[in-house]
Symmetry: C3
Subunit: 220 residues, 3 copies
């Protein structure tokens, strides 16, 4: 299987790390929105597992990994418990959370792309699935919190573009038969570093050409 | 089949009751939000069938029951028509709606858990699916209505916890080979009674530890 | 295959036209909401492909057509690029966009219904799927943009009803064995013309009976 790109136990450990840090970000949003302890757990689960769940449903890998691996389910609960008791401390280490979140982004765009390719999708579709895996949980988190997804807001540092780059690199590696543990790590690292640079230098994407006003019109 | 836990025709009748009362709650929200008659029908359908639809897609039971049983589709339309013509009366009997809604919650968490187990999920995953079946329609209703899901709001009486208890009881009954019509009813009743007690005594879940302010911050 | 109702290459071309115009409407909303260039692309994709993606997941046609046909993926990107550079011009031709959007609505409700029937759904369920295919992308667009779906707002011209009529016609044609390229086109045209008439004469659906106040209550 192609998505056994990394040593299985290494990949599983990395998956759990990615799930854990995404869960932290979901739980923190729930605390900020003043949700109760159950809401914190729900947001941890949804943010951590939403992207992979969407990918597995689309590619037909049902029941999804999120429901067949108990570790995937329990890890977000641990993150939720940590945030529940320690949230002022967790917010203080937001910079650290950002680093882990960037690591999760890099990892998920690589594993998402390879798993989709394994299930028979084309290279472009696989890269899109890799992107969806990496950013899907965050979008679901924002939709449930009744907020505009930070993914598409122009006033947020680049988040999706690093994942696009990482997923595209993996697709190209597959295309030219170069995918290995090493090149997979290179793609994940590229995404990771790009995201950190975007945070550090506040890289942002352009809005529409000739956008003169920053006023948001909600009329149609 | 394990999920033929109850006599088939009894279970079907109970399913339709659960669907009907969930549809009432969706239609009432649509009236409150000032949606048109089509919106009322959409909200009745989505609230009643959303949880089961999500469950069936995740466990791979496609096409979902919502699309193969005509009664499942027509029942919410009847609820929508009732609300359309009689909504002041329906709101007046909100207490009655709450009782039926609690009954639906109890029933759906039991049937959701058993159906998921039937499709090969583990016990924990099955209980999670039972919970998702019971609360999924309400979450979808709130997301479509552009509101924060009442599921996660700390200022609402406990809703998910009774479903968690009911689904967990079913999983434990399966684990110890004790699941029968009787024990299934006990689990549904436990969920039902817990929900009514939560409504009666305004049981609420705790927010995060040391949460000092009730102000909601939307900054990130 | 029944859904090869039209000549395959003709249907594919019509599909791409429908996808293109739906993508334009998604991209324009993203510009209005002040999203960045990535957000514009995401909204173009989601609006154009969301309805078909939902249909394919529900009927078990995975991986969905949106991920197996590269043209389906690239067309929205072209629409997004056009809107990015030319959005004042595109808004000026909003009337033209509305006409194309109505054409997409008519086409998608026909192809959605026939594809669902092909995958074994009953006639009523197939018509519902046809409706969901036609309006699903727009609903997803509005949910992601954190707006109340215009589908259910009483102050918008009829949008779903024309699609309901078109999908029902197709189901009846199938029932009486009358479905052909000609009758399929008649159904699509009926939906198309009804939508244009609704826009021209501001047809709107009724709100709930005896709705006395236009105030929106968000209490529960």
């Amino acid at each position: 299987m192609l998505h056994d790109l990394f040593n299985t136990s290494v990949q599983h450990a990395l998956d759990l790390v990615g799930i854990f840090v995404f869960a932290i970000s979901g739980a923190l949003l729930a605390v900020r929105k003043n949700f109760d302890v159950f809401g914190i757990a729900v947001f941890a689960e949804v943010t951590a597992l939403g992207g992979g769940l969407f990918r597995d449903i689309v590619i037909g890998a049902v029941p999804p990994a999120a429901f067949t691996d108990l570790g995937y389910f329990i890890t977000p609960l641990i993150a939720a418990a940590l945030v529940f008791f320690l949230h002022p401390e967790v917010e203080r280490i937001q910079a650290g959370v950002n680093v882990f979140d960037a690591a999760g982004l890099g990892l998920f765009c690589v594993t998402g792309t390879t798993k989709a390719y394994d299930y028979g999708l084309g290279l472009t579709a696989s890269a899109v699935m890799g992107l969806a895996t990496a950013v899907g949980g965050g979008v679901l988190r924002d939709v449930l919190a009744n907020e505009t997804p930070s993914l598409v807001r122009w006033d947020r540092d680049l988040y999706a573009v690093p994942a696009v780059v990482g997923a595209t690199m993996v697709a190209l590696f597959i295309r030219f038969d170069l995918l290995s543990t090493t090149t997979g790590c290179v793609a994940a690292l590229t995404c990771f570093v790009l995201r950190l640079l975007a945070l550090r230098f506040h890289w942002r994407a352009s809005r529409a050409w000739n956008r003169r006003s920053s006023a948001v019109s909600t009329d149609e």
